[in-house]
Amino acid sequence: MSGSSAQPVLWLQAAGCTGCSISLMNAEYPDIKNLILDELVPGKALSLKFHATLMGRTGRAALEVLDAAPAEHEGRYVLVVEGAIPTAGKGYGMIGDQPMAERAGSLARNATAVLALGSCAAYGGVPAGAPNPTGCKGVADFLAGEGVEVPVVNVPGCPPHPRWFVDSVAHLLLGKVNRPGMVDDVGRVAPVYPGLIHENCPRRADFDVGRFAQSFGDEGCLYELGCKGPYADALCWDHRWNGGVNWCIQAGHPCVACCEPEFLDQVSPLYRKLLAQSPEESRREI
């Protein structure tokens, strides 16, 4: 890898479920081995310094990596945060006897950029569902409240498809996220979340002729079963999941809009049908 530069990455797990890490391990082309060993874009490789689920070190020896990073790689590392930030009290989430919020704040302060991976890190997600017992916030929201100024890129999804991570990181490494309009109004790399599922759904023809599934396992559009596809910006219909073998709507399950800032509260009950007749109306409805 001569001529290549290593981009240090620190991966912090907060109030989450490790599902985003597992999803990334499901990546193909590049797969997780490529992501650890090879250049992700020409001339640039990721160098994963801290990831609690994968790393060999444990306890103090692991924490030392995290504690030393701000000085050792100041202004050069990318901080990936998986999970929301609990803010209602100190004890709701601790890493090495220090609140997650403090760790996330101090690590973000010295980072070149923060990647908020998954809907919890991006917008609060499931742990921020009412009554939000631990005051969970998305990372950008939390950092703004702390006065930490650092670019934050959201990669929502519960979990995000591994390609959304890879594509977002590639945009980041190539400096493309600094271009005007490249980050959309909810903090995502715009080309990674380009349009509504409903507009590209393989069951769209069923919707257009009014052929609706009435119960689980039926053929037809899943609108009556509460599909939030008219509301969700995601490329699931194109990338599909896990090597492209399937995805939610293909599996007969309504989309739950897991990638949207309104997940969980405003898209639930998950099986209640949207009343709106157009994507624009459904946006207003939710």
């Binding site: 890493i95 090597g243 995805w247």
Partner: protein, 472 residues
């Protein structure tokens, strides 16, 4: 007497700290502490009952199927439709769930546990050196016993297992929609009606995974066992519980049961009580109270008739040896004979790793049988409707052990939802009687070299802890 804190315990799911008191090279006492609370049970209250199935699986991204399965069983019970689920619905649930077990066990052995034993220095100077740096144990990498050739072989299989576990996730997604967080498993059955194409796709992927299990995983566990045979005495526990998993026509493939002080008993889930004496909760057990005096964990302390039971693969195999049908029992007995292990040695570090391997073989074999029984023409789900008032319970084993979901429905909404997860048992703190949790008990009495990180890490990881499950 020295007191040390291992925080965080890495290569597990979630946030766990272990405190140890070491004297004369022996762990005299241990405290395990779950460090993250999200309040999922509180978030569930007041919501639509069907949403529980999708929300509870977000408890954990490693074993979401455990919760989607338990929640579905729980809602099947509450809605009174358990008998109405078509055979396809049951078979497809087993196929999806079984594939998740294979994913879990391969991930656990190679990616979570094995770095405690291999020496990643063998990668220095190779193109895979960055992986070696990530896996380096740092200053506490003691007691490495593999030869250089074995090390190289195991690290190569670490890399190969990354692909195998991904393929196991593809198996889940093929019938379940996606992973993590499956879509297809729902109360009443499943949403996906697979065609022959999907079923054949499943079969061929399964064959590839089975080859890896037979040619690499099981032999690697045996190789590890040869080098670390003393781990049969490491991290032992006394009592164990399984709630059973994979419903079939004649009961569950892996049956429910408990072994308490060496005696087999048939437990009732109603004998399970959760205590919070050393947990950060007060009053109604779900009210968080961080800083509560004498408490040290977000994990509660479930007990079966007052006993702290180990749950997980070793418990399942131990129970199956007493209660499973003859064919399965025979195959497990043969597995123990091959490894020269007695059934009372199963609840140990070595027994847990071996049990995962044996169970993987059993499940992989069964997946093929269930696949042949699916009728692509038949229905996959029954219809569901939500009663105004109802209660239900869902019992299953998850890859990591016994799992209970309970729901109470009032006015058509969730009034209360309770989850008792496998790691809630294993990582539980002391209960009101001062009885330590299984991980704490397994650590106590262990002889250690150095600062205890190596031995404690090996013991804790052998349970495959999942803290996101343990505290929801």
């Amino acid at each position: 007497m020295t007191k040390i804190s291992i925080d965080p315990i890495t290569r597990i799911e979630g946030h766990l700290k272990v405190d140890l008191e070491i004297e004369d090279g022996v762990i005299r006492s241990a405290w395990s502490s779950g460090a993250l609370y999200r309040g999922l049970e509180k978030i569930l209250a007041g919501r639509h009952p069907l949403d529980a199935q999708k929300i509870t699986q977000r408890i954990c991204g490693v074993c979401p199927l455990a919760h989607s399965t338990a929640a579905s069983l729980c809602l099947d019970d509450a809605l009174g439709i358990a008998e109405d689920i078509p055979p396809n619905g049951k078979l497809l649930r087993n196929l999806i769930y079984g594939a998740n077990f294979l994913h879990n066990h391969v991930l656990h052995f190679y990616h979570l546990a094995l770095p405690d034993y291999v020496d990643p220095e063998v990668l220095a100077g190779h193109s895979t050196a960055p992986l070696g740096q990530l896996l380096s144990p740092g200053p506490t990498g003691e007691d490495r016993r593999f030869t250089e050739k074995e090390n190289r072989h195991l690290v190569e299989n670490y890399v190969q297992a990354l692909t195998v576990r991904r393929k196991a996730q593809e198996l889940v997604a093929l019938l379940g929609g996606k992973m993590p967080h499956d879509m297809a498993v729902v109360p009443g059955g499943v949403t996906f009606r697979p065609g022959l194409g999907e079923l054949e796709g499943f079969r061929f992927r399964l064959e590839e995974i089975k080859q890896f299990l037979e040619q690499e995983y099981i032999p690697d566990v045996h190789l590890w066992l040869e080098r670390y045979r003393d781990h049969l005495q490491l991290g032992r526990t006394e009592d164990c519980l399984a709630l059973g998993v994979f419903p079939q026509r004649n009961g569950r493939l892996l049956p429910q049961g408990a072994v308490l002080q060496g005696d087999y008993v048939d437990p009732s889930w109603e004998d399970i009580r959760e205590m919070v004496d050393a947990s950060w909760y007060t009053g109604e057990a779900v009210n968080p109270d961080w800083g509560k005096e004498d408490a040290y964990s977000w994990v509660k302390s479930p007990r079966l008739g007052g006993r702290a039971c180990e749950v997980g693969p070793a418990a399942r195999v131990r129970v199956a040896l007493r209660a499973a049908d003859g064919e399965l029992r025979g195959s497990l007995e043969e597995g123990l004979r091959d490894a020269r292990i007695e059934d009372e040695d199963l609840c140990s570090v070595a027994g847990r790793h071996l049990s995962r391997a044996l169970e993987s073989r059993v499940i992989a074999e069964k997946l093929g049988d269930w696949l042949s029984e699916v009728d692509p023409e038949g229905p996959v789900a029954c219809s569901v409707s939500i009663p105004e008032e109802a209660a239900g319970v869902g019992l299953t084993d998850a890859p990591r052990g016994a799992l209970v979901h309970r729901i109470e429905i009032q006015r058509g909404k969730i009034a209360q939802y309770d989850v008792i997860s496998p790691t809630t048992w294993n990582a539980s703190p002391r209960d009101g009687a001062g009885i330590p949790g299984p991980i704490e008990a397994a650590l106590t009495g262990t002889s250690v070299e150095g600062n205890g990180h190596t031995e404690a890490g090996r013991i804790v990881r052998s349970f495959d802890p999942c803290l996101a499950c343990a505290v929801q």
